[in-house]
């Protein structure tokens, strides 16, 4: 079976019509991973036993001629920040190097309930903190399009696995751009749903008010299918919203003609690579040709998004990561003689440099005397950033921007300059802060054959519109 460009429906149909079996298809992916992944580094752990058990279940259904569920037999992979019962889950960190969770993340459980075959766990920046995947404690990920370049981050393994046909689709997580930016670097589709659209239960927390789970896929249609499976209220996550889930796939085919698409000048300023600008401008022209009305808008507080994010996200991270103390699970510094020395030794040796940097920044911002100046200030600016979108969405149905200011950069290029690395998320973080959905869809290639991504941002709980526009663009491009 040809794995290249294999979509969800094609994989499911092949298993349904018994052109292949779910087990054979999974094995074909494992062969591909064995051959190709040593040079890419997308996978951290393979869950072969679990995958083949599920495949057997699906094959029994297919043999009986029963209609397979939506993802029946479809091989997928999961970013290593989502817990999987019985399958090692590290969050890309040494501190969870030997952690085998006793329960499943809701999003993963929903994929499996819909028949998906979970091939394994995908490499990522440690605790999803990074924009290049170079903060993984285990190994870097190489961009399948150019092995000397990063795949983006933090869902770098997820984007690379889908781009290199080592999974039909993947689940990633996005706190500041971690689904959309790697999707754009690797030339795949990445969707961050509205905050509360998808349960976070079983997602190892980085910044709880900003963390989102979402799909990385080869097509917009596949992203719509996966979102439909994982979306919806989950009593195990009190922030998951009680908002009806539409049929995203049916919504894709509605016309885009007459939709108003905003273009915000703040997303086309200093720092935007000339080739990326040209490609995104051409894409906007294409949307106009499809009958969309292009409207100039302004999101005046945009330049404050990165500073706001690095206070809010690190403050929440410093609290969330306090649970890693070497007592109940994970790594423990073995030589410590006192409890206090055990905590400190465990955390100092268990966490990598970027994680420590963010814990320190967050702890500082929350500490006595600085709380008002930093944390409270950032929360107030977060309101302003959210109001910017609320104003603009009174006039337009979606906003179009570049996903990232540049195509994929070289491994090692930004590791010594945290601030430069943070700016890789300049066009993606604002959506996380405002809780609105965003999708990155491939729109062009640079002269160096590197993918360039187009980002569409939508109203709260209106993934249907951005999926529809992205789909129309993808079909026309």
């Amino acid at each position: 079976m040809e794995l290249k460009s294999l979509t969800i429906d094609a994989a499911r149909s092949a298993v349904q019509e018994r052109n292949t079996s779910a087990a054979d298809l999974a094995e074909a992916f494992y062969d591909k991973i064995e051959n190709d992944d040593p040079k890419i580094g997308a996978y951290l752990t393979l869950s072969k036993e679990r995958a083949l058990a599920k495949a057997e279940e699906i094959d029994e259904l297919a043999e009986k001629g029963e209609r397979l569920p939506l993802l029946g037999g479809v091989p997928v992979a999961i970013k290593d920040v989502m817990v999987t019962k019985g399958v090692r889950t590290t969050a890309g960190s040494k501190i969870l190097g030997n952690y085998v969770p006793p329960y499943d993340c809701t999003a993963v459980a929903r994929l499996e309930a819909a028949g998906a075959i979970v091939l394994g766990k995908l490499n990522c920046d440690e605790f999803a903190m990074g924009s290049s995947n170079e903060n993984s404690a285990w190994k870097p990920v190489h961009n399948p399009r150019d092995l000397s370049r990063v795949p983006g981050g933090s869902s770098g393994g997820a984007a690379a696995a889908v781009a290199a046909d080592m999974a039909v689709a993947a689940l990633g997580s996005d706190t500041g751009g971690s689904i959309r930016q790697p999707a754009s670097f690797c030339g795949v589709v990445g969707l961050m749903p509205t905050y509360g659209r998808v349960s976070r239960y079983g997602l190892i927390a980085f910044a709880s008010s900003l963390d989102h789970i979402g799909p990385l896929t080869k097509t917009v249609g596949d992203a719509a299918i996966l979102l439909g499976v994982i979306a919806g209220r989950d009593p195990m996550d009190s922030t998951s919203a009680e908002v009806p889930v539409p049929n995203y796939v049916a919504e894709l085919e509605k016309p885009v003609s007459g939709l108003k698409i905003g273009v915000a000048k703040e997303y086309f300023g200093e720092g935007l690579d000339a080739e990326v600008r040209k490609s995104v401008e051409a894409a906007i022209q294409k949307l106009a040709e499809l009958g969309c009305e292009i409207v100039e808008v302004s999101l005046p507080h945009t330049k404050y998004a990165i500073p706001t994010y690095y206070i809010v996200a690190t403050a929440e991270a410093s609290a969330n990561l306090a649970r890693f103390d070497g007592v109940r699970y994970g790594f423990r510094a073995p030589e410590a003689r006192t409890l206090s020395a055990m905590y400190r030794g465990t955390r100092n040796r268990g966490f990598g440099a970027e994680v420590k940097r963010r814990i320190m920044l967050g702890t500082y911002a929350l500490s006595a005397g600085y709380y008002d100046a930093y944390y409270l200030k950032a929360q107030r600016v977060r309101t302003l950033l959210t109001r910017d979108f609320e104003e603009v969405f009174k006039r337009v149905d979606a906003i179009v921007t570049p996903t990232s200011p540049t195509p994929a950069f070289k491994l090692g290029e930004k590791v010594d300059d945290p601030l430069a690395m943070y700016l890789a998320d300049i066009y993606t973080v604002t959506a996380d802060l405002a809780g609105i959905p965003g999708i990155s869809v491939p729109c062009a290639e640079s002269r160096d054959k590197l993918p360039i991504g187009l980002q569409l941002l939508g109203k709260h709980f209106d993934e249907a519109t951005i999926l529809r526009v992205a789909h129309a663009y993808e079909q026309a491009a």
């Binding site: 509360g196 009190s238 055990m342 320190m360 950032a378 405002a434 809780g435």
Partner: protein, 112 residues
């Protein structure tokens, strides 16, 4: 506000991190460079802008109710094992670096 080595040592202490001298030096540099950038937030007058902790503040809440009652959709009955069963003892201890089978074990807390 300039972050000093003393501040770094104090914050590392709060965060239960035992930084090496090299890590402390690097941290002074990095925190100052990041905080200088973050200082741009002070260009904005936010006197009358309410802080936002959660996007859920704006979505799905019952506006006719007050306080935490507004988030009634997010609550559940307070019953034993309401949403899922507690983990069996052995499963809860399975990932422990050190355990006697009943409790998690840690180094001595009080020196005699």
């Amino acid at each position: 506000m300039k972050v000093t080595e003393k501040d770094v040592a104090y914050v590392a202490d709060l965060a239960n991190l035992d930084l090496t001298q090299a890590e402390r030096d690097r941290m002074v540099r990095d925190l100052n460079s990041i905080l200088e950038y973050i200082g741009s937030l002070n260009e904005l007058d936010t006197t009358n802008v309410p802080p936002m902790a959660q996007i859920s503040d704006r979505l799905g809440v019952d506006e006719s109710r007050r306080g935490s009652e507004r988030f009634a959709y997010a609550s559940r009955e307070d019953v034993l094992e309401g949403l899922r069963k507690s983990l069996p003892h052995d499963v809860a201890l399975a990932n422990a670096p050190d355990s006697d089978g009943t409790f998690f074990e840690v180094p001595k807390v009080i020196e005699r």
